[in-house]
Symmetry: C2
Subunit: 144 residues, 2 copies
DNA sequence: CTCCCTGCAAATGCTTTGCAACTAA
DNA sequence: TTAGTTGCAAAGCATTTGCAGGGAG
């Protein structure tokens, strides 16, 4: 598959290949970040990601985390979600999907795209085409 | 400024009443801001709003605009929409409705709630109830 | 050697806050 | 008088950028 000899606990080959598919050269930091994000679908802020990496003993700077996330978003590797101004979150599930958003805590859950279907959608503005449809279901803890 | 009762071209009484309904005392600045936002449904950032007010010859400070918008949101008078971190937008249509979002320019259009209907929605997480459903249709200019 | 990447620190830009002056009742 | 508001300037914070040092080939 590849001639690079990276041997860590994670299926790094997949990640390296994924980076390559998106024209991203696989530096050590990028692999670390991609491993965290891509191994399981998750929503993380830049700071949460940094903390997770540091916790795992990785050596990454804040600037590199930001720059790398920005690069990944530009290259379509991850999605950027903006719930509120102090909370930019990155979503490693590339396929379009939807979200539950718990209003009080800001927690996000994924909604499988198959669990949402429309029986009616509006006409598009002239000369425009759909780039994506996103549904956010805001939920709150039920008061008894 | 002036102790004169308010007599402008707009239906200020409605606005005053609306503020009252939301437990907001009708100061001069709040009336100015509410007039801009409530007279017609619109999406504005804090800065756009400030510029609009200044253009209209109103005397409002930036801090007051921010504080007032925050107050209005807390009191449920307007909604806050977060497109991306440097672009918090305020929406004066209180009823739930949906949006077209032009990706390139960040422009928003309203979608009438009647123009969207679901034939399937996911099961809610345990103990949660729906606080609102929001659909964002991202659109891009068609390339010929 | 050369190119690209990293990381520190400084810069940026939106938003909030401290606080003194002010206003309406 | 008194409670609530305003506005300036300063502070806060997430994110970006400048630039020197570093690593891979």
């Amino acid at each position: 598959m590849n001639s690079v000899s990276i041997h860590n606990a994670h299926p790094a080959n997949d990640v390296t290949a994924t980076l390559a598919e998106h024209n991203i050269s696989p530096t050590s930091q990028r692999l670390q970040i991609a491993n965290v994000l891509l191994n399981e679908p998750m929503h993380l802020s830049a700071d949460q990601l940094l903390e997770k990496l540091r916790h795992a003993g990785e050596k990454v700077s804040k600037a590199t985390v930001y720059n790398t996330l920005k690069l990944f978003v530009e290259r379509g590797l991850i999605r950027q979600i903006n719930l509120d101004p102090e909370r930019t979150v990155y979503d490693s599930r590339r396929a379009t999907h939807h979200h539950f958003h718990e209003v009080d805590t800001g927690t996000l859950w994924d909604i499988d795209p198959d669990d949402v279907a429309f029986s009616r959608l509006p006409q598009l503005p002239d000369g425009m085409e759909i780039a994506g449809v996103e549904v956010i279901i805001r939920v709150a803890r039920k008061v008894q």
